[in-house]
């Protein structure tokens, strides 16, 4: 799905737990997520800390969208 949207001309950032799969499906901007049942959350954290975790992931995703890439890139830091 990543590919079809990007092919249509819209940049996509893929937030995905298992980056090798994201690479296989052809995403160009990849942000590793937390865990499969909760990619942008962590139920073990307090609601405030969990929101903060999600905010950081979204920041990373937005940064990826603002970054020029010429190949598949994993934004893991």
């Amino acid at each position: 799905m990543v590919k079809e949207i990007e092919r249509a001309g819209i940049p996509v950032v893929h937030i995905c737990t298992v980056t090798p799969i994201s690479l296989t499906v052809g995403a160009n901007r990849i942000v590793p997520a937390v865990a499969i049942p909760h990619p942008l959350g962590n139920p073990e954290l307090s609601p405030g800390d969990e929101y903060e975790l999600r905010r950081k992931l979204v920041d990373k995703a937005l940064r990826a969208l603002m970054t020029e890439v010429d190949d598949q890139t994993v934004f893991d830091s």
């Binding site: 298992v18 090798p20 799969i21 865990a35 499969i36 049942p37």
Partner: protein, 150 residues
């Protein structure tokens, strides 16, 4: 037996080396539960379907456990046998294992498809399916136990 994952200190930092000895067997096969529970950790899904065994294993993989045996073991086709036993690491690793995930998802696709087939498995051959399934998972035990032995 040492269990869990070794952490290897290297100059470039810490990295995971090897999942070790400890494993669990997820099964819906009462014969596996009977025969192996004494010696090993067995998660027995009584009256569970083969699909439920896979879902259980998949959830464990999502929780960073590693798949240790092939989920579609054996050439008894998934649309024939109701029994399935799968070995998974007892302890989670530091990240989801992509290979484990790929294997379980592909296996579940095969299983999903197989449920479109007519099911007429007869009770009289139930026991034979149990025996073959037990044999398949037993064939993994020497390899599983060898790891971590020094």
């Amino acid at each position: 037996m040492i269990s869990g994952s070794f952490r290897l200190k290297t100059l470039s930092g810490e990295r995971e080396t090897l999942h070790t000895g400890s494993f669990q067997i997820v099964t819906n096969n009462p014969l596996v539960a009977d025969s192996l529970s004494g010696r090993y950790r067995v998660c027995f899904l009584k009256n569970g379907s083969d699909r439920e065994v896979m879902v259980k294993v998949r959830d464990l993989i999502h929780r960073r456990h590693r798949l240790l045996t092939a989920p579609l073991s054996g050439s008894v086709k998934p649309w024939e046998t109701p029994y399935r036993s799968i070995m998974v690491s007892s302890d989670p690793c530091s990240a989801v294992d992509a290979t484990s995930l790929d294997l379980i998802e592909r296996a579940m696709e095969v299983i999903n498809r197989s449920h479109n087939y007519l099911k007429t498995t007869k009770p009289s051959i139930d026991h034979d399916f149990q025996i073959v399934d037990l044999s398949l998972i037993e064939s993994a035990l020497p390899s599983a136990e060898a790891i971590g032995r020094i």
